[in-house]
């Protein structure tokens, strides 16, 4: 049995302009001790997925449908009091911005101790000792002293270490990390990723890493889930996703990325704009930007299985699509390259 199993999750938000389905029909599972990368761009629903699992959806949001099984129990059936016991103890979370997710008026020690006192029933002294151990584990120098410091006395990278120490202090089965390194500089990002990998090897938590950075995914994840427009469009092992992507969006993402190990050949962008969740296309959400778009793409797309758990949601692999020719994507904006040909003459100097 999988440790965490999300099935047909649909989370919607009421906005001034109408109801928006940020996550729509998402299913996936996480095995104990594994690392799953959830990749997507802004608005793809990756953060709402993690907040749904934690039941931390904002006031105007509802989990309309689906199940979230943790160790076989549906988290959506839990009361708020039961959820409070699960959050932090069984499923912990690290957020993107370590400044706004720490309480500025409590010392670091108090904040870490709060979790262990609450969840593990430690007394104050035991909890503070445990906090020192955790700070040492995440390699914060002179931990006994730093315990009494406030968040503003730490740098961004150090704060993220504190967050990791806090999240891991109750030895959670699942750690959800939502863009944990996005706010950090690259040399600090490398430190934090190394630390997370090391912590996982040591403590055996499963990690769900939510990120837009495919490089970070390649560095840390065994399995990758690609999201677009509120649902999964492809899932597979990291090697499968990077070496033989099936869904044109995944291909496009990889092609559009400038790479450190490749000199400047021209990038191949994905044309068009991200989908507007208020006006989703009837079939495949990616169809309006897809260079392989066919008439059939306006129908609901099933998942196709490529073996080894590699699945993708795309009609290119459907028999019904045979003989259908790609149609020119509508609303495609004027591509820069073609526009330049008609550039206005330069004003003479």
């Amino acid at each position: 049995m999988a440790l965490l199993e999300v099935h047909d999750l649909r989370t919607t938000f009421k906005t001034e302009d109408g109801v928006v389905a940020a996550v729509n029909g998402l299913s996936f599972s996480v095995e104990p001790g594994s690392t799953l990368g959830i990749v997507g761009e802004s608005g793809s629903g990756k953060s709402v997925t993690s907040l749904s699992i934690m039941r931390l959806i904002a006031q105007n949001g509802t989990i309309e449908r689906g199940t979230i099984l943790f160790k076989g129990e549906n988290l959506l059936d839990k009361s708020e009091a039961e959820m409070r016991k699960i959050r932090g103890r069984d499923i912990a979370m690290i957020f993107q911005d370590p400044m706004t997710s720490l309480n500025p008026v409590l010392t670091i020690g108090e904040q870490i101790a709060e979790a262990t006192r609450l969840h593990l029933g430690l007394n104050k002294k035991e909890a503070l000792d445990k906090a020192v151990d955790m700070l040492r584990l995440v390699r914060i120098p002179i931990a006994e002293k730093r315990l009494r410091d406030y968040p503003h006395q730490f740098s961004g990278g150090m704060r993220q270490r504190v967050m990791i120490a806090m999240a891991l202090s109750c030895d959670p089965a699942v750690l959800i990390a939502d863009e944990p390194t996005t706010a950090l500089d690259v040399t600090i990002q490398a430190q934090i990723i190394e630390l997370m990998n090391e912590m996982q090897a040591r403590l055996g938590s499963a990690i769900v890493l939510i990120t837009h950075d495919l490089g970070v995914v390649a560095e840390t994840c065994e399995n990758v889930l690609v999201m677009y427009g509120g649902n999964m469009v492809e899932y597979g092992t990291a090697t499968e996703i990077f070496d033989s992507p099936k869904m044109p969006y995944t291909m496009g993402l990889l092609e559009s990325l400038p790479r450190l190990d490749q000199a400047g050949s021209r990038l191949i962008p994905i044309e068009g704009q991200p989908p507007n969740l208020l006006r989703m296309p009837p079939g495949c959400a990616f169809a309006p930007r897809c260079r392989y778009r066919m008439p059939i793409c306006d129908e609901p797309v099933p998942l196709y299985d490529f073996g080894n758990g590699h699945v993708a949601r795309c009609f290119l692999y459907d028999q019904r699509a045979e003989g259908q020719k790609p149609i020119e994507a509508e609303n495609r904006p004027v591509i820069a390259g073609s526009a330049v040909a008609q550039a206005p003459p330069r004003v003479a100097r």
Binding site: E41, S42, S155, G157, M158, D185, V186, T187, I188, Q189, A190, Q191, I193, E194, H212, D213, L214, G215, V216, V217, A218, E219, A238, T239, F242, D243, G252, L253, L254, S256, L257, P258, R259, L260, D261, A263, G264, R266, L267, I268, P269, I270, E271, Q273, P274, P333, V334, I335, A336, G337, A339, V340, Q342, A343, P344, R346, V347
Partner: protein
């Protein structure tokens, strides 16, 4: 400060390139004051003596982490912020100390594209009037003529002419950045400082804007100073690359030279820190992971600023500022280790003791 004479001398002896911008010994300190008397207590040494040239038609990438001073450097060069001291020459004319009146005609030669396409466009102006404003300020076009020019500019950056009547909030991030580009191009500049122009954009949109900037450069013969923290993007777009660390340039070279043979330990660590989107390569790669944090520019470490995090620092690094020296044609670096080893690059993936 003792550093930069070596760099200046090297530039003088090499055959002169067609330099559009020449930066010499440039400093920008922001004073920190305290008390009701606003007593001057310290300085943020954002830019602390930098030297480089930007050649006509090229893209110079300026990379560094937060607090390295890269954005301040860009702003001081354009005189959006006044230099504390030093020299910036644009087409042979000194910009530092130039009066407002003398500067105004030069303003239209130099433009800037900002990082955040959400904050850098006035939400109450239509896209058309945003792009039109510089035309009128500089007296380039008015009335019907300006309308036509606005339409041309929008088309040039891949937008539709009818977008002129819309407001910024009606556009996505990538489209807004195109508006920012159109505004910068309106006055026919020769030189553009692009300050993290794609950092706020999604990956799939980033590539659109990068390609646009490259096409425009070719078409219009633009010169870019491309400021970014993302070394993959910088490698992609730049002809030459300069690396900044806490107010100083530690290394500058042609793109391929810098990425294939980085001399400075900081450059090496920075390159090593970038994850490559390929799990097979990631598994085989040897990484240099720096310890510690980036020092504060208020109180930069003495000697070489990188010595507090450098795995191969020795005694000299703690006291003496390394000279910014040329080791290969056009390849300058400021490192005592490199100097003492005849310009060879240290191999940081080997344990530090084996290198000593």
């Amino acid at each position: 400060m003792t550093a930069p004479s070596a760099g200046a001398a090297a530039a003088a002896t090499v055959a002169p390139h067609d330099d559009l911008v020449i930066v010499r010994d440039l400093y920008k300190y922001f004073p920190i004051t305290a008390g009701i008397l606003q007593r001057h207590v310290a300085d943020v040494r954002a830019v602390d003596g930098i030297d480089f040239e930007i050649r006509r038609g090229e893209t110079l990438g300026l990379v560094g982490e937060s607090g390295s001073g890269k954005t301040t450097a860009g702003r001081v060069i354009l005189r959006l912020t006044e230099a504390t001291k030093g020299s910036v020459q644009f087409e042979g004319r000194e910009l530092v100390g130039l009066s407002r009146n003398d500067l105004r005609p030069l303003r239209k030669e130099m433009q800037i594209i900002f990082q955040d396409p959400y904050a850098s466009l006035n939400p109450r102006m239509t896209v058309g009037s945003i792009v039109r404003e510089p035309l009128e300020i500089h007296g380039i076009a008015h009335g019907k003529e300006a309308d036509v020019r606005v339409q041309e500019l929008l088309r040039l950056v891949g937008l539709q002419p009818h977008h002129a009547n819309r407001y910024p909030h009606e556009f996505s991030g990538g489209q807004r950045q195109r508006v920012g580009v159109a505004r910068a191009l309106a006055v026919n500049p020769k030189f553009i400082v692009a300050d993290e122009p794609v950092s706020a954009l999604d990956v799939s949109i980033q590539a659109q804007v990068i390609n646009l900037l490259q096409d425009l450069q070719q078409q219009l013969g633009l010169t870019y100073l491309f400021i970014a923290h993302d070394l993959s993007v910088v490698r992609h777009i730049s002809n030459r690359v300069a690396v900044m660390y806490v107010g100083k340039i530690v290394e500058i070279a042609d793109r391929d030279r810098l990425y294939d043979n980085p001399l400075h330990p900081y450059t090496q660590a920075l390159l090593s820190a970038i994850p490559i989107p390929d799990p097979d390569i990631e598994r085989r790669r040897k990484r240099v992971i720096l310890t510690g944090d980036i020092p504060s520019p208020v109180n930069p470490p003495p000697g070489c600023r990188f010595h507090t995090r450098c795995p191969i620092a020795f005694d000299r690094c703690k006291v003496e500022v390394p000279a910014f020296k040329e080791y290969e044609p056009g390849h300058r670096a400021a490192c005592h280790w490199v100097e003492e080893h005849g310009g060879t690059a240290p191999d940081l993936t080997v344990t530090p003791t084996a290198l000593a």
